[in-house]
Assembly symmetry: C2
Homo-oligomer: 353 residues x 2
């Protein structure tokens, strides 16, 4: 019997391409087109490289405190990780151990089934309705936990808080994780539910609305009891996950509320204009509450459009998967970038129709 | 049935204290007393905070390439993680899935049993001999993998390369992980074995010899096939683990060979002097090949000495565990710090004997 038989073999998540070519218009991984608040540069400028010789604070307290303060929480209600993917992976490992299937939508963040496979957690994918909506009643069944993004990805569709509440109330004996990576772009957060119910965990990230995907910083918010269990697992995996630079820059970023709000306003405005322009070109575009739109054209396949745009050095995201094969997920860039995208699509449709 | 019953409950690893009080002499977590190479400050000074808006390269290629080049390896033979703890956790998850017990010493890095418990991997702790030596023959038994540090922690004892080779040859059907966090302080690395055997993985870190514990950067080196399996698991856990700052600073650090060598020479010299001085005071000090010494005194208990030193604001590490209860693990600091430590110990022994 060889060690080859004991390897955990998995089909990993495939992130969007990170082209090194700087001439590319990069609308494929939902990054923010605007730089992070100048507070980050200031914090990094004040950083003493000599301090790197020492381990960071394993609890990342100054960062946790700053996040807690921003949301009016106690520090014990906040957990930080290396991006929200790290946080979600640890949440799956900590809380989804019942043997019953974990539930999430069939069209959703494509990392959920990867984590379930990695940790050998059974799962069921609940179909969205025909307009890509989550139906709370569909989650009223025996389960080992529930997780969904709100707004959903890659559709951008927002679930109203009352529907989120119904899902939570339908499974009082399960942990319900609401993955709010995109909530700042116009949705209502489920954060108040963490004090109303004992089984709710809200996850957010610095990667989208705070323009810091390159910093790797995500966080979970819940009652102190669940956060403690999560921390126990984290401290059983890696004591020091947040490096000194991330702690400093992250705390500075979350304190700059004004910059954060103004960036979001710009992106929402561009999203509204882009949605309208795409619809003018004949695209079907569900209303998005995220920093991307999900668009399909009746007379051009998703693959064709994806390939064409790539040839023009415009990167968007496309999945060769049932139900969404004809859709592109397009990150909201700057107004200029969206103008170039729309021109390219116009040109393509003119030539091919 | 409540969600409370499905929580993964673990007894986490407890890292050494990270006191915030700057007046402390910190000899408790094996940090390097010297700052990292000035190359780190230079790389961070040149870093554009605006680039944080973009995800990092998920493969951290520039960092992986720099490490590969330093060791004469192909990039596909190197894996990077958030400190060697992250790397080791992922190695346990990837390779230790046989149902047979994983073997490691009874006195060793106290995270091994924590990872085994976390991932529900059976394990057996193999007693060190009376002088804290690893006996290769003791590992000649059915197992689901082997892991040990070399030099061992907290003893500092080095296992000669020929003995490491015997352990590897004794278990050709298991993965053997050699945790070389401290190898640069005078040991012979098992790195050549990764090309001689198909089951060997060597793990190293930037936290000790490269003075960058606060950066969180560790790496595994093995054949490309095992590194590929490890990467599959990593990409199933978190696509982007290394942030942009760590990639830049890490690549700069590993290229400054001269600074690295000179720092190590200083620490080895201080270790030799400290060992001699401790022995002059009556301490039993096994020969260390690490950046710490393990010391016991026939007329003072480990706990007494630990408590006394702490009252003097000198932090060392002590474990209330069988066999090592009377030992202190003392990190090698600057000559000045070791002078203060030795004076304090001298004073204590004078008063109490």
């Amino acid at each position: 019997m060889s060690f080859l038989e004991n390897i955990r073999r998995v089909e990993p998540y495939v992130p969007g391409e990170q082209p090194r070519d700087s001439g590319v218009i990069k609308l494929n991984t939902n990054e923010n087109p605007y730089p992070p608040s100048p507070a980050a540069a200031k914090a990094l400028g004040a950083f003493s490289a000599d301090s790197l010789r020492l381990y960071p604070d394993p609890a990342a307290s100054s960062l946790v405190d700053a996040i807690a303060q921003r949301y009016g929480l106690a520090p014990g209600e906040v957990f930080v990780g290396v991006g929200s993917d790290d946080v979600l992976a640890l949440l799956f490992l900590t809380f989804f151990n019942s043997g019953k299937p974990v539930l999430f939508p069939d069209i959703t963040y494509s990392f959920y089934d990867v984590w379930a496979e990695l940790f050998r957690i059974p799962y069921e994918q609940i179909p969205l309705d025909e307009s890509f909506g989550i139906i709370p009643e569909d989650y009223f069944r025996e389960n080992g936990g529930i997780v969904f993004p709100n707004p959903n990805a890659p559709t951008g569709k927002l679930l109203p808080l009352e529907s989120v509440r119904r899902i939570v109330e339908g499974s009082p004996d399960s942990i319900v994780i609401i993955d709010e990576a995109y909530i700042d772009f116009g949705g209502e957060s489920a954060l108040p539910l963490i004090h109303e119910y004992d089984n709710v965990i809200v996850v957010q990230t610095f990667s989208k609305s705070r323009s810091a995907a390159g910093l790797r910083l995500g966080y979970a918010m819940s009652n102190a009891s669940l956060i403690r269990y999560l921390n126990d697992v984290k401290y059983s995996f890696n004591s020091y996950t947040m490096n000194r630079l991330t702690i400093e820059a992250g705390a500075a970023l979350i304190r700059d509320e004004e910059y954060f709000q103004s960036t979001i306003r710009r992106i929402i405005r561009t999203r509204q204009e882009t949605t309208a322009s795409l619809r003018d070109l004949g695209f079907i575009v569900p209303e998005s509450a995220a920093n991307f739109v999900f668009a399909s054209h009746p007379s051009a396949s998703g693959e064709e459009l994806f390939t064409y745009l790539k040839s023009k050095k415009i990167y968007v995201r496309w999945w060769n998967k049932p139900r969404i094969r004809n859709y592109l997920r397009i990150t909201i860039g700057t107004d200029e970038e969206m103008g170039i995208l729309l021109e390219a699509l116009k040109e393509y449709l003119r030539r091919s129709l």
